[in-house]
Structures are given as structure tokens and as C-alpha cells.
């Protein structure tokens, strides 16, 4: 066990030296040009990282010839094609599903707000209620603080008015003006490309299947790319979903290169002239550097066909404050354009989306409300907040 000590010593030295250098460089450089183009006089135009051999930087787009790899493309022919229910009318179910689980919060909020006098305890209780919904400490404080301020100014007394104010605050935090439509229509003679990312077990594959159903129901043609080559039987799971709606699945070998599968899926989509290509990726925790690099590569390789229209982060409604980290890291790597909040039919309230949207400005576009094939609905801030507050219950 002695070597632990040595390893740590060496690491410490390396860190101290490295940090010293980095901090020195940071302080010398004006902050507005973080990707440093080198010094003014002696530096050649090439950025320094390119000089490093691939062990450190590994620029995979250049190395990887995904066209050459050519995984065997296995097209699954659907035996029986179901006609999914049209998307209209889903919101009705959304409301009933949501309110089913949210009553407790709504009730206790109501109890607090209908008190005669709003003292510190009452406000604190309100704060606690929001925290229990995973809204997070910071956003909660901010919301409650503003609410307090406004009640003082407006002299609001009745519970109904207060609730309306709270609702306004929460809806405001969700910014209803953001564009929540899914960019799934083909353009420039090219299918729209959707990339679905997220941590393990958040429900990516299921979400992919559901989105495919929605798109098929609305009259689109869809190609699914099973770029989850890691988890056992993930491609089969996607194929089952696809088989139900008659979508085509492009899949590769197990443990193959996900970027190659994604590339082939998009190519297949272009060749077949489909409207949308949906790419399901393997779940990855955001702190695994290698896996996140792999994801970045999937996106870069797919972009050789043209830009990815939509990158959806699948977030489990039960996720706590880590959801924020997830959203941030995934956005850094693949530039997330929308969030899908899944498993909202449980007791979880999904308050984390308030924090995510507030900090990162990424809109929630879809919500998953159950295991049923049609349990996916567009997100509406008002309806969500209503459900959170139990207005409809």
C-alpha cells in the first residue's frame, strides 16, 4: 500500500506545477479569448493542442473513418404496424396524470397560503414545499423572496390571489416564451436529425420509441439509429419500439462504434428520403470523460451530413440537484437544445427543470408520463405549474 503515498505525492507535485502554470497563464491572458491562439510573436497559427500526439487530445473526427467501418446494417421489417393514437388530446391525460401525484404538494401549499397572517414560519414552510419538489435551494429562495416582496407591495391577502402570484412566479421561472416545438420536419431536402442523450436509466430508449410514435402518428417517416451499442439488448429494445410503429432501425454490432451507427442512420435517412432521423445513444454519466468525448464524437460525425437539428437531454423527474450538473455538462459537450422530462407520472415533481431552465435557459420540450407507448406529451409551463400547485385537483 506504500505506493499510494508516492502516487499522491507525485500527483500533488504535478498538480501544483500544472496549476501554477495554468493560473499564471490565465492571469496573463485577457479573459475574452479563452481558446488561446498562442503568443503574438513566435507562435505559429496552429493551436497548441494540435501539436500534442493523440494520447491526450485525440481528435477523433480526423482519425475516425466511419464510412469505411461499415457496420452491417440490419433493417428490421415490421410484422404488424400499429396505428398510434393521434397526438391531439394528450394534454387532457397529462393533466390528470400530473395531478394524480402532485396533490400532496398542492394541499400543503394551499394550507400555508390560506393562513390569516403570513409570518416567517409560513414563508419558510412555503420554501420547504418548493424544496421538496426538487426546485433547489437557490431558485426557491429567489422565488419566495420575490413573492414576499410582491405581496408586501401589492398588499395581497387572500389565498387565491397569493396562489395566482406564486403561479405567476413559477411560470415566469419556466419562461413560457421559449420555443418548445420540436424541430422534426425535414428541410433542404434533408431529414431532421434528432440526437437523444442522457445518463443511464433516464429513459432514453423509451423516449426515442415514443417520439418515433408521435412522429409516425403525425404522418412523418422515421429512421431510428440504435447508437447505444453498449448496454445489453438496447438495440433490441429500440427495434421492438420501432417494429410497433413500422419505423426502420439502423443498428450496428454490439460494442461497435456508436458514431458509425449514427452516421449510417443519417445516411440511410437521406437515401430513403425520410422526414426524421432519431438517434438513441448509450446512457452515460456526465463525469465520465471518455464517454462524454465519445458522445461529442457521435455528434461531430453525424454533423458531416449536416447540422443536428435537435439534441434532447432526457432527464428523470426523480433526479435531484445533480440534474443541473447533468444539463450543464451535456450542454458543454453536445449543445443540448431541449429537455425531455420523463417519469413524471410518479410522485416526483420534477422541480429540477425550474433550476435547469433558470440556470441554463434550456427549455423543456416534452414530458414522459408513463410506460404506455403514447405517454409522451408536449410540455406546457402553465399546465405543469398548475399541476405542481394542484390547482386542477
Amino acid at each position: 500500500m506504500q505506493w499510494y503515498v508516492y502516487v499522491l505525492i507525485v500527483l500533488a507535485v504535478v498538480l501544483v506545477v500544472g496549476l501554477g502554470l495554468v493560473v499564471g497563464q490565465l492571469s496573463r491572458r485577457p479573459p475574452e479569448q479563452p481558446p488561446p491562439p498562442g503568443g503574438p510573436t513566435t507562435a505559429p497559427p496552429a493551436p497548441p493542442t494540435e501539436a500534442a500526439p493523440p494520447t491526450t487530445a485525440a481528435p477523433p473526427v480526423v482519425i475516425e473513418p466511419p464510412v469505411v467501418v461499415e457496420p452491417e446494417v440490419d433493417v428490421v421489417a415490421p410484422p404488424t404496424v400499429e396505428a398510434p393514437a393521434p397526438t391531439a388530446g394528450r394534454l387532457v391525460r397529462l393533466r390528470s396524470r400530473l395531478s394524480r401525484s402532485q396533490n400532496a404538494l398542492g394541499r400543503s401549499l394551499l394550507a400555508v397560503l390560506s393562513r390569516d397572517r403570513l409570518d416567517d414560519d409560513a414563508w419558510e414552510e412555503l420554501e420547504d414545499n418548493l424544496i421538496t419538489a426538487d426546485v433547489g435551494v437557490e431558485p426557491t429562495r429567489e422565488i419566495v423572496e420575490r413573492l414576499r416582496e410582491r405581496t408586501r407591495v401589492l398588499g395581497t391577502r387572500t389565498a387565491d390571489e397569493l396562489r395566482a402570484l406564486l403561479k405567476e412566479e413559477l411560470v415566469g421561472a419556466l419562461d413560457p416564451k421559449l420555443d418548445r416545438s420540436l424541430a422534426a420536419t425535414p428541410h433542404d431536402g434533408r431529414p431532421a436529425v434528432l440526437l437523444v442523450v442522457g445518463v443511464n436509466g433516464s429513459g432514453k430508449t423509451t423516449t426515442c420509441g415514443k417520439i418515433a410514435r408521435v412522429l409516425v402518428a403525425d404522418g412523418h417517416t422515421v429512421v431510428l439509429g440504435a447508437a447505444d451499442t453498449f448496454r445489453a439488448a438496447a438495440a433490441d429494445q429500440l427495434a421492438t419500439w420501432a417494429g410497433r410503429v413500422g419505423a426502420e432501425v439502423v443498428r450496428g454490432r454490439e460494442a461497435g462504434d456508436p458514431a458509425a451507427v449514427a452516421f449510417d442512420a443519417v445516411r440511410r435517412g437521406i437515401e430513403a428520403g425520410t422526414d426524421t432521423v432519431l438517434i438513441d445513444t448509450a446512457g452515460r454519466l456526465q463525469n465520465k470523460v471518455g464517454l462524454m468525448d465519445e458522445l461529442g464524437k457521435v455528434k461531430r460525425v453525424v454533423e458531416r451530413h449536416g447540422p443536428v437539428d435537435e439534441t434532447l437531454l432526457v432527464l428523470d423527474a426523480t433526479t435531484g440537484q445533480n440534474g443541473l450538473t447533468q444539463a450543464r455538462v451535456f450542454t458543454e459537450v453536445v449543445d443540448v437544445t431541449g429537455v425531455v422530462l420523463t417519469k413524471l407520472d410518479g410522485t416526483a415533481k420534477g422541480g429540477i427543470v425550474i433550476a435547469v431552465q433558470r440556470n441554463l435557459g434550456i427549455p423543456v420540450k416534452l414530458v414522459g408520463l408513463g410506460e404506455g407507448p403514447d405517454d409522451l406529451a408536449p410540455f406546457e409551463p402553465e399546465a405543469f405549474v398548475d399541476a405542481l400547485l394542484g390547482t386542477n385537483a
Binding site: V5, A43, A51, G323
Partner: protein, 508 residues
Amino acid sequence: MFDTLSDRLNGIFTKLRGKGRLSDADIDATAREIRLALLEADVALPVVRAFIASIKERARGAEVHQALNPAQQVIKIVHEELVGVLGGETRRLQFAKQPPTVIMLAGLQGSGKTTLAGKLARWLKGQGHQPLLVAADLQRPNAVNQLQVLGQRAGVEVYAPEPGNGVGDPVRVASDSIEHARRSMRDIVIVDTAGRLGIDAEMMGQAAAIRDAVTPDETIFVVDAMVGQDAVATAEAFRDGVGITGVVLSKLDGDARGGAALSVRHVTGQAILFASTGEKLEDFDVFHPDRMASRILGMGDVLTLIEQAEQAFDEDQKQRMAAKVTGGEAFTLEDFLEQMTALRRMGPIANILGMVPGMNQVKDQLAELDDSHFDRITAIIRSMTPGERVNPKVINGSRRARIARGSGVTVMDVNQLLNRFAEAQKMMKQMGGMMGLPGRRKATKSPKNKRKGTKGGGRPRSGSLPGGFPGGMPQLPPGLDPSALDPGAGFKAPKLDFGKLTRRPKDN
């Protein structure tokens, strides 16, 4: 990002400096900060309340009043309480007197049941058991397939009479499996059930039916370490619905603080048996309450750091590193490069630093730290000839210009690297001396090295480094000044807490 608990408490207590004792108001303020820290770590609110009440009780007691450093003392109390709650009595799996032992897995969708089934089977097989995996998740598309693949990887038989995808009766599969296990002489049956929500009465009824059919010796609740406030509601639903005898935390390899562990433990009163820490079948470990406590509080986690280091370095590298530190070999730029590459393999630098105790204090400055800066250092070294790397002294002006051109940086950058490296070499020698190992280290002027003559046996000095490194760590970023950190406190040692290092690994 959020501050860590220790930062916050330090903030409060600096204000109190000069006061002889803590007033009740001070303790309340402290409690509020602890409460926030726990909430941010996703510990459920009711659990936080109960926990804070017990902390307050202790904080009012004599131990804090008499302590020289109340902040540290309070953190210590919190940590101890957490370990106490999380650990309690550690428990092993209960095996049935009459085989087969039945283990049933239950949990929300996506919490990791099927993967855990595979891991558990592999682990039990390694212990000399003959497990049988039962595919009773007939809900999710291809869950049966997944289990079969996992069973194959683990080399364990999978009982899957039904194809799944919504076809078949899981209760029947479960009850038949017991008979099958008896016939084929399996002594452990692991039943993988479908993921279900606590409020789904129908599915909970099905889980209860499976339980009644197989009468499990262990009903294990699998919970995702990332889960937030909902942990309490879910755990209660499962406790009342199927009954829980043990808990497994999954996805602990993520960077969630994992407050759910505390919530679930509090609600169910059942021990946390295992931690699932990765996607591979072998990423499976018994649960360490003390590490979890540090993690929930956002304190440095030296042990995890060591584990990651172990993965990043191969045996050969470790040997050589030990030789560098203790023996006469000089630390060259080549070694430096190698270590840095290994360090990069361990994950983003900011994450690693977060695990180093005391480093959290400079987190804000490190937030803007980008790993690509380290790539540049790598580039500079790679632009040197092997000769230059071994003997940096030969690098004269024109060589410097060449290296700068080669790596696309300024000469100033190269100079800086070389200066730093010279300092690092010096530091390395001093450290080697401090280790008190038999070697060629002759005493230098450092007072520390004189003292070390009294100790021998190749044991590192226990306790933190007294007063920082001799001569100080040169040009540390502001805030990293070792003297500003409190060397007396275990979690604050600037870089390494040797006492902790040497003590813990022995327990394993």
C-alpha cells in the same frame, strides 16, 4: 457552484472569532447552513429536519464549546452523525437455512435493477454460490434479453420461460423459478422484477404477489444515487408495498452527492448493503458509510481519489513512481509528462481537485480552469528532444525559441514551465526526504529533514504536513496558501493527509 459545508461554516465562525463561546443564535445559524448543505446534497427535507435536531443537541453540548476550532468540531460532529446513521450495523446478505435463498430486486424504472441482478449474480458466483437469475421483468421491451446477455457475461444461468415485452405472468415465472432452482441445484435465486412507481397500485400489487409467491429472504430496494427529494416518497411506497430488507445504491460513480442514501436509510431503517459503481459487471462494492458521509457533505474524498489513481496507473508506473520519490532517480520532464497524462485519464482536473481535501476552497478560481491548459503543457514537453527532457539544464535560449515554436506558445510559457519544473524537482526531493526512507537523501537545510532522522522503517509521517511544505509551495494561486488552511484539522491539510492514508487502506 455551491460552497461546501466547511466553507460556509468557516464563514460563520470567522465572524464569531473572539467570542468566548457559542450562543444559541450562533448554533441556529450553523444549523441553517448544515440544513442547506444537506438539502443541496438531495437529502429529503423531513430527514434533514430530524437530522438537524439531533445535531443541534450535540452542538449545544460541551464538546463544541471547548473546542479550539468550533467549525471543524461541528463538521466532525455532522460527519460522525452521518456515518452513524448511514452505517449503523453493517449487515451481510441473509441466506436461507434451506436453500435456495431468494433475493428479490425492486425499484423504480431505470434505477438499475437488471444490471444489478447481473452484478449480484457475478459477485455471488465469485463467493462460491450457484445463483440463478430469474427474468420476471416482462414489462419493459427486451428486459429479458438484457438479463440473458448479462447472465451469459456473468456465467450464470438465466431462467426466462417467457419472452417478455408485455407477454406472460411475472408471478408465475417467479414461483416456477423456485422449483426450477431446486431441480437444478441452485442455492440462490435472484428475481429481477419490472420497474414500477410507488403510486402505481396495480404494479405494486403485482410486486407483492411476486413476493408472496417466492417468499424472498431478502427484498432489495434499488435506488439511484441521483434521486432527489422524491426518495422518501418512493422508499415509503416500496416499504409499505413490498417490504424492504436491504438497499442498494446504484450509479454511485456519478458525481451526485447522493443524499438519497441518507433519506432511504432513514425512512426504511434498513441497511445499505451494496454500492453499484459502474456499468461493468465487476463495478460492485460493499457500501462505505464514511465515504458516503464525506460525499454528502461535499468534503474531499481521498479514498476515491486513490482508487481512481489506482485505475489510472499501471503496476509498472507505480513502481517507477515510488522509485522516483524514494530512490535516487531524478524526476525528469519525461516522468512529469507521464504523470500528467495519467492524471488526465482520471477525469476532468476540476473533479480531481474537488476530491483533494482543502482544495474546495479554491474551487471558484479553478472553475475557469480548462483541461486544455494542461494539454498545452503537454505540448510544450512534447516539443522537447528526449535529451532535453531528461536534462532540462541544456535548454538554452535558442532551444527555448524552438520549443516555443514547436508547441505554439510563447518563450515566456516555456520559461515558466521550466522554472516551475525546477521547483517541482526540488519539492520532490524534499518530499522524498520527508518520507524518511532509506535512500541517498542527505539532510538539506530544511528543518523538517533534520527532524526526520528520528523516525525510520519507511513509514510516512502520520498527521498532516507540519505548516505546509518547507519554503512553501512556490507561487501557489492566492487562496492556496498552505498557512491559510488549517493544518491541524484532518480535512484541511493542504494536499495530503498522510495519517488518513496510512490508516485506512489497512482496513481493507
